[in-house]
Amino acid sequence: MADTETAHTDIDNLAASVIDGRRSALAAALNLLDDRRPHRRRDAADLLSRLAGRRPARDNRLIGMTGPPGVGKSSLGAALIGVWRSRDLRVGVLAVDPSSPVSGGALLGDRLRMKTDDNDDGVFIRSLSSRGEYGGLSAEVWPMSLVMLAACDVVLVETVGVGQREADIAMSCDTTCFVAQPGSGDTIQFLKAGILEVPHVLVVNKHDMGQIASRTLSELSGAIAAEHPDGNWQVPVLATSANQQIDVEELADVLEELSITSRQLGRGLLPMRVRGVIGSLGPAAPAGDVRSLRPGRPGRRRQAVGRTRTETGEPFGAIRTLRRLVDEHSNRQESVYAQSPKLPAAPRTGRP
């Protein structure tokens, strides 16, 4: 056998093994989604539709984390992973690093900051190069996150963001967390200028930096809008210190509450994702190319949905299947949520 990816030619088996949580299968599935050869792309589309059918990702969370370089996202990610593992959740991570515009090569090296226990089968990390999409998400992130969701309870997408490209991650994930650097005015400027799409949670990391961090915290609280565009709740602003484990539990709680809230607001996870998939299929997207399965901006999305409905060609079969499943799933979801107890509102701000 030449490559691990050819060990799973049978897509049904592969899907089943991914759902069973077999690590070698998840690795092979991610390799498959990375593969640009036409026959492999068809397999990939097949795999995605099977996974969506087999495991409604209702309770799974897809969390985006972004922020400027050096702000401690990986360490914070590691601390969150620790909390999730202690709550017995299986965690998948997609970590995106910038690639070299000259050679196309990339250095991917944040795994060890994220993973502390070598023998823990409950954490799976795949690093990705941004592959030319400088500062943003590579095209593979979206389909890969769907596969990871089939195998993991929580999927964290971590990427360097310094401005406009946070939009990408906000569109790709259910809950977006922006990590800000104490003492840096950039985030506030971005917010005020409307460049930074409003994240669902703002985190001031390295809170152990004391006064500077407290000031940033209060500035941020003042700078964000009273309500998030997704619904009538206030964006929480939290302070954490990944190195000293301060308040990371609280951040995990807030993320949990937010994903519940966003479901209640109809931002249901799977529907949202598939809306994104459909939205991405602009005229430029090659037929059946799973690598193009990524969300577009809201305006484009509506137009694209209209276009998609007029398509009849086979390449969109997988997507149609997904869509049907989503609709069925949404109906089921409503009845589930109707019985949910009233949940506490997300906290307004973190501790100073």
């Binding site: 490559d3 690795a27 640009r36 000259v102 090569g105 991917l108 795994r111 795949r126």
Partner: protein, 666 residues
């Protein structure tokens, strides 16, 4: 006219960095070396001892007694100095993260020899900052590490006044690629960080601070550009003198003297025509001895065959004889400073001083040396310099005889013997050490050990000086692993920045590089996705230059490279390879533990159904071992002989192509 007999200067301390297999074997070696005229000892500890693991710890597997002597407890330390009265010895210990512990053991052994520890003379390297940048035997995060460093300094200044508590090292910076300017700037910035920390600790009174400054010594490298190296030493002299006077107000000139020891450069030693290393070593020794006003206090020379493997006693004897010929046969020590007043020397020294000051200012702007370790600034600068050096070797701009010019050679009679010209560590040494350790643990007073560890814990959390509690641990039979484990629990562990995130090479690169990138891209397209490599550094060995340079080169060639830094376990490497979907694993091992580590990684890969992944390895790997590794399925073995990075990349591509059933050329 009859000549006056001249009273020559006293020669520097002559040492050989040595230790291997066991305390018993090392003790015999020390006594032999002393018998041959060596005037001090330089102890090499094995990697488990340096990184705080007992010999029976899983991470120590394959490393016990390899690059130095294993010291698990006071019993080992006693055997190491058996029949060597410590009050008459000047002992240098290359020990950093666990320096307080090894000094504690040394003190406890002195007590058992019936001596007053206050008389002890010697040096603990005790410079963890450069470990984060080059050598890799750090354990704790920078802040508690600096605290341990200052505790040792404060303790010895007050209790062992003739001890050199820290040897601020520029040696390893040069090994990691530092230019003379960088060596000067980063070593002196480290000294500033340490002195500031001592001051801030409040352990030393204002009136005693000059004494501390006077006890700081340095450990410097000397490379083959010996005129410039000579100037570097003079620049060190001046900068240190000025700094102590102006920044710290040390008024006594004696306390401002730049006191340093030297090991000459190992980076430049070649595997090709290894006999040439002898003249390299001699020339490098000249750089640190010619100038009387900037002469080394202690010298240890590497052996000619370091790039091949571990030197034998005869190789070490040869290195010692080089020093003896210079000191006792030549007239060098009969003269005053030969270089004073030379305008050429003076102008180069001035340039170095100016550029070093500028770099020190950049470090200070970025928060000082400790911050610049943590934020990766200094490491990136070093990786950058080293990358430049390798590119120059590749292009021929930097000439190395026998490597990229004058390569033709007659067969060497030196490497032809049954041992291939190197020493093999006794295969049974690890097993015997573990047996002895277990017996030692079984026979000690468990309650006394517990009490000593409790005091250590209290000192570590409460902020009391760590030395008294550590000495009590040493007396009580605590082990190296136990001492370290207590501190790991309190201080946590650390991973230093790898520094490989430097900018890529310019688009104007040579056609050879463009051709390589083209081939990487094409192969990736044929296989459906970008080519991915895992560069792994397993085991405790922290010499990461090779791995870093391969990682940078692979990135520049267009690979997606997963590189995580040093000290990975076999399980981490195997799992990372699988999770990241890489096409090939490249390992780097310089500690001599390549056989054990490859075996362990292979087992882990099999356990996760990834046994089929192609594996290559680079390091100081003797020919016989290379054959063995290939017979186990390792696809390629690279050694210091392989200096052409493009050729290495093409070889890796060949392997990936062949493994995936692609035609040979792309």
């Amino acid at each position: 006219m009859s000549e006056q007999p001249v009273q020559p200067d006293r020669p520097w301390l002559m040492r050989t960095y040595s230790g291997h297999s066991s305390a018993r074997a090392s003790n015999e070696l020390y006594r032999t070396n002393l018998g041959r005229g060596q005037t001090g000892l330089s102890v090499a500890f094995d990697l488990p001892t340096q990184t705080g693991y007992d010999s029976d710890h899983p991470l120590a597997r394959g490393e016990v007694g390899k690059v130095g002597v294993p010291i698990d407890h006071i019993g080992d330390m006693e055997v190491l100095f058996d029949a060597i009265p410590l009050d008459q010895m000047n002992t240098s210990m290359t020990i950093n993260a666990t320096a307080p512990w090894l000094l504690a053991l040394y003190v406890a052994v002195a007590e058992r020899q019936g001596l007053d520890p206050a008389q002890l003379q010697g040096t603990t390297q005790n410079d963890v900052i450069k470990e984060y940048l080059s050598r890799g035997t750090y354990i704790f995060p920078p802040e508690p590490s600096v605290r341990l460093t200052t505790d040792l300094i404060a303790y010895t200044v007050q209790n062992i006044p003739k001890w050199n508590p820290t040897n601020v090292c520029s040696y390893h910076l040069q090994e990691a690629g530092a230019t003379p300017t960088q060596e000067l700037a980063y070593a002196l910035s480290t000294a500033v960080a340490i002195l500031d920390a001592v001051k801030a600790s409040g352990q030393i009174g204002e009136d005693n601070f000059a004494t501390v400054a006077g006890r700081i010594s340095f450990f410097v490298n000397a490379g083959i550009r010996f005129v410039e190296e000579c100037c570097k030493m003079r620049a060190f002299n001046q900068l240190w003198d000025e700094m102590l006077l102006q920044r710290y107000g040390v008024t006594d000139p004696l306390q401002r003297r730049f006191r340093y020891g030297v090991q000459v450069n190992s980076l430049g030693l070649t595997e090709q025509q290894p006999e040439n290393n002898v003249q390299r070593i001699v020339l490098e020794m000249l750089a640190v001895t010619l100038s009387k006003s900037a002469r080394a206090r202690a010298i240890q020379l590497p052996a000619w065959n370091e790039a091949l493997g571990l030197p034998r006693p005869w190789d070490q004897q040869w290195a010692l004889r080089m020093q003896q010929v210079l000191a006792y046969e030549t007239d060098l020590l009969e003269y005053g400073d030969l270089l004073d007043g030379s305008p050429v020397i003076e102008s180069r020294v001035r340039e170095l001083i100016d550029s070093a000051r500028a770099e020190m200012a950049r470090v200070e702007e970025r928060g000082g040396m400790v911050a610049c370790v943590d934020n990766g600034y200094v490491k990136r600068e070093l990786v950058q310099s080293h990358t430049r050096r390798l590119r120059d070797i590749e292009s021929g701009a930097l000439r190395i005889v026998g490597v990229n010019c004058f390569e033709e050679s007659a067969e060497s009679p030196l490497t032809g013997g049954a041992d291939a010209g190197i020493m093999r560590v006794d295969e049974q040494a690890e097993h015997a050490q573990i047996e002895a350790l277990r017996a030692f643990r079984a026979n000690r007073d468990g309650r006394r050990v517990e009490a000593a560890l409790a005091s250590l814990r209290e000192a570590a959390t409460g902020g009391a000086n760590i030395m008294p509690a550590s000495i009590e641990c040493a007396r009580s039979g605590v082990t190296t692993g136990e001492w370290s484990e207590v501190l790991r629990g309190i201080f946590g562990e650390y991973r230093a920045p790898t520094g490989v995130d430097i900018g890529g090479s310019a688009p104007t690169d040579s056609t050879a590089v463009e051709a390589l990138r083209q081939r990487v891209r094409a192969t990736g397209e044929e296989l459906g996705r970008p080519l991915r490599l895992l560069i792994g550094k397993p085991g405790l060995d922290g010499h990461s230059n090779g791995a870093e340079q391969i990682a940078v080169k692979s990135r520049d060639a267009g690979f997606e490279v997963v590189y995580e830094g040093i000290r990975l376990t076999a399980a981490q490497i195997a799992r990372a390879a699988q999770e990241e979907g890489v096409h090939l694993i490249g390992l780097s091992v310089l500690s001599g533990s390549h056989l054990e580590l490859v075996e362990a990684i292979h087992t882990e890969l099999e356990a996760i159904d990834a046994g089929d992944l192609p594996l290559v390895i680079g390091g100081i790997i003797p020919g016989g071992d290379a054959d063995k590794l290939r017979s186990w399925g390792v696809k390629a073995v690279f050694t210091p002989r392989d200096v052409d990075m493009n050729a290495i990349m093409h070889r890796i591509l060949d392997i990936i192509r062949q493994h995936n059933g692609l035609a040979e050329t792309a």
